[in-house]
């Protein structure tokens, strides 16, 4: 693995709402090395997207806020307290992001060309003409046929898969060190999904970009990730390399999650995790998973466990406290 590009420590993001302030993400720790793919998995609302939006400083205005004790280091520089202006030099240049819904994420009233040239012109300060050439080159790279003609069209004239290719081309145009993909294939057909994932993988190899892949699809994780961070209730609960996680999950939530993937050669009833995900507003005081956990103890209800190291991996559960 290459240089450390991203280091997130104790990231806590709170949301201010009418009913009060509550943490959407708390005590997140993870690192990302150049060329590596880290998958962040978890159910809807577990804080995957908030984590990535926090890194980008793109939380909803006036609502989301990164707390002062959080630390986000990009290539060794602390960026968690960066101003909007300082961040805009990084965004789209050093750290890029691809969003889930490519139809709403592209501007409907601007041609693809007008949107493609922007990162080039803003970050590389090149002329419009050169930017247009570079944009067409980038679109060719992501597999858009006949890009010279297609750039003059508007997003609604592209298919879902093609639009997501445009989004990826746009994100990669300034050769960023980190690419955050927030459920990039969720809105796409399965066949297109595979193409897009393969393309991200190939481009990542070619450009040595580190990728954070946010998904709730364990199949996608197994295919693409080097390491996996499992999230539950706004916290990371298990961090391990991909193979280890799938063969030997440690955290009870990870175990439940993997057990609830349907298998084609298994006739037994599909297992589920009992209970409901607690709302972020009334998280249990102790371990966030305690109400649904079969190993739950009194201590779990009172204290929130820290991330324990177990060799190369980390897990947030008292069962793996040193000495156990």
């Amino acid at each position: 693995m290459g240089e450390r590009v991203l280091e997130v420590n104790n990231l806590t993001t709170v949301f201010h709402t009418k009913t009060g302030t509550f943490p959407a993400v708390s005590q997140m720790n993870f690192t990302l090395d150049a060329g590596e793919t880290l998958a962040i998995v978890g159910e809807s609302g577990c804080g995957k997207s908030v984590t990535s939006l926090s890194i980008m400083h793109l939380l909803p205005d006036r609502m989301g806020e990164i707390t002062p004790e959080s630390s986000i280091k990009f290539k060794g520089t602390e960026i968690s307290k960066y101003s909007n202006k300082q961040m805009s030099n990084l965004r789209g240049n050093e750290i890029s992001m691809v969003f889930q819904d490519s139809l709403t994420s592209l501007n409907p009233t601007m041609t693809v060309m007008a949107q493609m040239v922007e990162p080039f012109m803003v970050h590389q300060k090149i002329s419009r003409k050169d930017a247009e050439k570079a944009a067409i080159e980038m679109l060719r790279k992501v597999g858009i046929p006949n890009p010279e003609a297609r750039v003059k069209q508007y997003p609604h004239q592209f298919s879902g898969g093609m639009r997501q290719r445009v989004m990826i081309a746009m994100a990669l145009s300034c050769n960023p060190s980190v690419l955050i993909c927030d459920e990039p294939t969720t809105a796409l057909d399965v066949t297109i999904q595979a193409q897009i994932l393969k393309m991200i993988y190939d481009l990542k190899k070619e450009l040595d970009t580190a990728v954070i892949l946010i998904t709730h699809d364990m199949g996608v994780v197994a295919e693409t990730a080097d390491r996996v961070l499992v999230m539950y209730g706004g916290q990371g609960v298990e961090l391990a390399d991909c193979h280890t996680l799938f063969t030997n999950p440690l955290h009870p939530y990870t175990q439940g999650l993997l057990a609830s993937i349907p298998k084609i050669d298994d006739d037994t009833r599909l297992s589920t995790i009992e209970g409901m995900v607690p709302s972020l507003k009334d998280m249990p005081k102790g371990c966030h998973f305690c109400d649904r956990c079969q190993y739950c103890t009194d201590r779990c209800r009172k204290e929130n466990p820290p991330m324990y190291r177990a060799g190369e991996r980390e897990v947030r559960c008292f069962r793996y406290e040193e000495g156990n």
Binding site: N93, E118, V122, M170
Partner: protein, 319 residues
């Protein structure tokens, strides 16, 4: 684009015919007859003579026959002769259409020029000072009756401060320079603008507010664009779309509202002419003015649709 304009024009013609039928029926249903105005009761005119006049004017025919006569003449450019003013309707309207267009269009433009920046600022920084200020302005603008605002403006600027003329379009005895007309235009234009300003500002504020949380705005920020580019290049154009629709809807109300405003300020437009025509049961004049106003509104709507299409490329494929 050419096909689209043709299609819109054809539907506008159908709408236009519908409008003339409705207006003709409504005008004929009004109590009283044009003869009441023409013939004084004490003049001792005989019933036979009355019937002769009625026949000469075509008033003894069934209403649909009257309408078809009128329609045929209209397409030949003949709107008939005013019953009470005894001059061709075309001639009467021609002298009045300029001032009405000047008043309506200037207040439409003024409303847009104020509403777009104000609504944008309010929607960009919602629940802050400028947003609350624009809300108050909008509610007052919508709630205050047009004539009241007009009288208030006259009281303040013409009577108390003596800055602007009370009424008319020129100084008496003058042929009217552009500056003079402009000075007379200010108060009626403000009165007419005020009403639409509220709706326009609220519409702009709301669509701006909604657009700011759209995904493509987040994408624009994720590209590293500065806020000015995000706002003016990415958001504003999308936020303008609902306002354009609103402006199209308000066009009819604007020309209609001009009738009251013109009356208060003695503005020599079609409004004053229209009121007199209705009072006199002057069918040819009522119909003539209705035709002109509906043509103005229909053309205005086509223009608005074309602007909308130029701003929103998605419409292109749906037609």
């Amino acid at each position: 684009m050419g096909r689209y304009i043709l299609k819109r024009t054809l539907t506008a013609i159908v709408a236009f015919i519908g409008i003339t039928i409705m207006t003709y029926c409504l005008a004929s249903l009004m109590p009283g007859s044009p003869l009441d105005q023409l013939v004084q009761p004490e003049s001792g005119i005989s019933n036979a003579e009355l019937a002769a006049i009625e026949h000469k004017m075509g008033l003894d025919q069934p209403i649909y026959i009257q309408y078809f006569f009128w329609l045929k003449n209209m397409f030949q450019g003949n709107f008939g002769v005013s019953y009470t003013q005894h001059r061709p309707v075309v001639e009467l309207i021609a002298g009045r259409i300029g001032p009405t267009l000047l008043l309506s269009l200037s207040s439409m433009l003024l409303a847009l020029f104020v509403a777009v920046p104000l609504g944008t600022a309010a929607g960009y920084r919602p629940y802050k000072g400028i947003d609350y200020a624009s809300s108050v302005l909008a509610f007052v603008g919508q709630a205050a009756p047009n004539f009241f605002v007009a009288l208030l403006l006259i009281y303040i600027f013409a009577v108390k401060l003596r800055l602007l003329p009370i009424s008319g379009m020129y100084n008496s005895g003058s042929s009217g320079t552009a500056g003079e007309v402009l000075k007379h235009l200010i108060l009626p234009c403000l009165a007419l603008t005020f009403q639409h300003l509220g709706i326009f500002t609220r519409q702009m504020r709301n669509s701006m507010y909604e657009c700011m949380s759209d995904d493509y705005v987040r994408t624009a920020r994720a590209k590293g664009l500065n806020e000015r580019t995000v706002l003016f290049k990415h958001t504003l154009r999308n936020a303008l779309l609902p306002l354009i629709t609103q402006a199209g809807l308000s066009l009819g109300a604007l020309v209609g509202g001009a009738i009251i405003t013109e009356q208060i300020f003695s503005w020599p437009g079609m409004g004053t002419l229209m009121l007199k025509a209705i009072k006199d049961r002057d069918y040819p004049l009522i119909m003539g003015i209705t035709v002109i106003i509906s043509v103005i509104v229909l053309i205005g709507n086509i223009v608005i649709d074309i602007i909308y299409r130029m701003l929103d490329p998605r419409i292109d494929d749906k037609v």
